[in-house]
Symmetry: C2
Subunit: 492 residues, 2 copies
């Protein structure tokens, strides 16, 4: 195999990078912290985006587009939000370059083209959107507003990793406006369910739904709901968040509506987002030492067919047969590629498609033709099987569903095996160090203790699970009384 | 009608703005020169984008995503391209804000967080993409690369207009790499045909295909092909461009490949793009004094149904009937909305949907129910007709096709009536001033004369039509010999 990848046991982090780069998902760019999403990676993102977009529309949302730039005076209007993002934002200060008088062919910033007010490249769009909503909302009849935006955002991260943490990333951000607090909270929870549904049923990745502690809330939110996934190295990854923003942005941008009694009230808000980070989660959760493993429902390519032949005559016979197989698969709504290129041997092709995580590989040779069979190889289990060509379309359709389910089941079993309940500090540290994964433990509820635990263990409270049982216990660090367990983990 | 719009004869420019804003397509934002694309406008863009994206994929292209920022050193590498965009680019110079010590709650740029190298917000992506292609291309086997990107770009325009000219806009930019000059030229022309096909058959807007004069070429191109459309005020609008870039970018970024003889050669390039500007063209070409007129194939909503009733009993009966009509329309692949809201009278709704350019309006009252008919109103011709409810699905399907064709025919007739052939300067000016539209005239082929004509008449050479006849003549300005006519117009 030409493109070898590091094994997980050798270096998990390098294994991840190898897969992302060598499977052709993404690459580093000339711009610090920004990545190039390559066609195969973008095809994956398109499938994820389209599935999510459909779910947003089915829940009554529409798309719109707001400016890339946020004037500084708007950016700073909601103080907590501004404080949260000020340290990591790209700032546009000038609008023109000019020829460098000292360096022929080079350009310099034209000092005369300095902006009166600096523009922030959006790290998130609450500010610019709520400044706009002020014009859209007068009466309760204008509510709710259920808008989503697919966009690029920029957060100037110091340590970046492909997909997981990049200076620029692609995402969607929903921004909704409501007449009542209750309605906004319903919306916040509804979108969390949409995210959980998508990540579990499309990405085959089980999640834990929960609510963040005040320390871990989105800057400017009253409550942040989240879904947390588990990676194969036992670290958690926040896969999506849905925020109940209260009236914070309405107050910062003076967005009021007259209710049915003609009384002016501030509008209630939510925002929610998932990003290309999900691709990082997908890679880390399912892949193996041979490369990507992709759930069929979002794989850019579901089936590849590789011919095995000696001479043009055999190839022609195989081509003939495969033409029908391709039609039958396509008629079953399956995406398929027939790779009859002459520039690589079958074994090399097998390895390449394994690396790229194509869920099913079909191989067909002269003897298969005679027997009217084809070799079917599953990417998830590596099983191979000779299958009759008759009815291959529905066979593969069923197999793809089975693979989707199997990938989910495997990840679910891993997740379940990595939630450990502990009752004291020693067990807590031991579980984090040796067993890894989520640790369910009592915490006294104070931000100070949370901070101290993080400092000592490098684990954070991932969430308070939504379905949490109330039970009395003692904080693992301070011994103070606690009414419920929370989930800790080391995280991406 | 609550939202009155200025008539075309009164003030064409204001008419355009009124429609864009009052039909809910877009609005101004707090950021100079940037617009907010509202849900209805974005729905239109989504339909246009999806249709184009399908055509790109059918012609073998794939999508990818490249960074928003271009480091200055890459930006300036291709000199003509850099020169063309230097005067209008947003420059990021810092990556952090900090609390203003003199103003509580305010932020200022942190002078310590100055970038070593400034980043340009992409005005177009040739530079960042060709710098990436250097890593993607080694051998002829890596070619062609047929990549497209859907993205936002920023050009700091001094005078902006919603959709037509905004500082930030959405577009797609194709960037292809080829082993031979011939193949690159074939690609350039192929994509021009794709654009013409899309604009004519989806947007119902006839175009003239041509090639730009050197003066009007894209900065860095060897040849720029274009499609030119005509607006109702007789001004032309460049609707799309496809550039043959020669080896200019390959040389600037040192992108070479080894050919079949193992010889190193520079790669050949094309780029091509259309943008949200097309929405401006759509509005200006088809709409009337009552609002938008949208071709059914890209309308966000194709059919609206408005009930006309007195009392709840009548409404219930109508609702019952309409339920079946809605199902039948949907089964025919038609997008439909039933507006039974109580907060507006039918007349107000009629005007609103006319303003928004919904191609077909159905109205149904108690008497219609009895007669098993429904009133069908076409937006394009304003014709109304009572039609049997039986078979309404296929009736409307046929009608939508007819409307699509009629809108195209109308625009085509207008275009044909506004191409004038002239043979001297007086005729030229008279045609521009009084008849407007395209003027076909001889030109001596020099940039100086082209510039002088522009200065004197405010008309530019829109293109040399692809199907141009060669004929001898004399330049309308200098009287010098010319071998072919070119198309002039005043333009957006």
């Amino acid at each position: 195999m030409s493109k070898e990848i590091t094994s997980r046991s050798q270096d998990y982090s390098q294994w991840y990078n190898d897969i992302v780069i060598k499977a052709g998902l993404a690459d580093y760019s000339a711009v610090r912290g920004c990545m190039v999403i390559k066609p195969y990676g973008f095809g994956l993102w398109e499938n994820m985006r389209d599935a999510l977009d459909k779910m947003f529309k089915e829940t009554g949302h529409v798309n719109a587009y707001f400016p890339l730039f946020v004037p500084k005076s708007l950016f700073e209007a909601e103080e907590k939000n501004a404080e949260g993002f000020a340290k990591e934002c790209a700032v546009v200060t000038h609008y023109r370059l000019k020829a460098d008088p000292d360096n022929k062919g080079k350009l310099i910033v034209d000092a005369e083209a300095k902006l009166e007010e600096e523009l922030i490249v959006r790290p998130t769009s609450e500010a610019i959107i709520w400044n706009t909503y002020r014009d859209w909302i007068q009466s309760y009849r204008d509510l709710p507003i259920l808008v989503n935006q697919w966009a690029n955002v920029v957060r100037w991260e110091m340590r970046t990793r492909l997909f997981l943490r990049t200076a620029e990333f692609l995402w969607q951000e929903g921004h909704t406006a409501h007449a009542t607090k209750e309605e906004a909270i319903v919306e916040t929870k509804k979108m969390l369910e949409v995210y959980a549904d998508f990540v579990e049923n499309w990405m085959a990745l089980p999640v834990i739904k929960g609510i963040k502690t005040p320390n871990e809330r989105f800057a400017g939110a009253e409550d942040t709901y989240c879904i947390e996934a588990l990676m194969q190295d036992g670290k958690a990854l926040q896969a999506g968040t849905s925020h109940f923003l209260g009236q914070n942005f309405a107050k910062a941008f003076n967005v009021k509506f007259s209710d049915k009694d003609n009384k002016l009230e501030y509008v209630w808000a939510t925002s929610w987002g998932v990003s290309t980070r999900l691709i990082g989660a997908l890679v880390m959760a399912h892949s193996d030492d041979d490369g990507l493993v992709l759930p069929p429902k979002i794989a850019p390519l579901q089936v590849v067919i590789v011919p095995i032949y000696k001479g043009e005559e055999q190839k022609a016979l195989i081509n003939d047969k495969v033409k029908n197989i391709v039609s039958e698969l396509k008629a079953n709504g399956i995406s398929v590629k027939y790779d009859d290129s002459d520039n690589a041997r079958p074994g090399w092709k097998f390895a390449q498609y394994e690396l790229q995580g194509v869920p099913v590989r079909l191989a067909i040779g002269a003897r298969d033709l005679e027997a009217n069979v084809i070799e079917v190889a599953r990417r998830d289990t590596k099983e191979k099987k000779s299958v009759s060509i008759d009815g291959i379309g529905s066979y593969i359709q069923t197999l793809l569903n089975e693979i989707q389910q199997n990938i989910y089941n495997r990840a679910k079993a891993f997740q379940q095996a990595h939630i450990t309940t502990v009752n004291n500090w020693d067990e807590f540290i031991k579980s984090l160090d040796e067993h890894t994964g989520f640790v369910s433990a009592h915490w006294d509820g104070t931000p100070e203790t949370e901070e101290k635990i993080k400092e000592l263990s490098k684990a954070t409270i991932r969430c308070i699970p939504l379905d949490n049982v109330q039970e009395e216990g003692k904080c693992i660090l301070t011994g103070k009384p606690s009414s419920q367990r929370v989930l800790f983990a080391r995280a991406y």
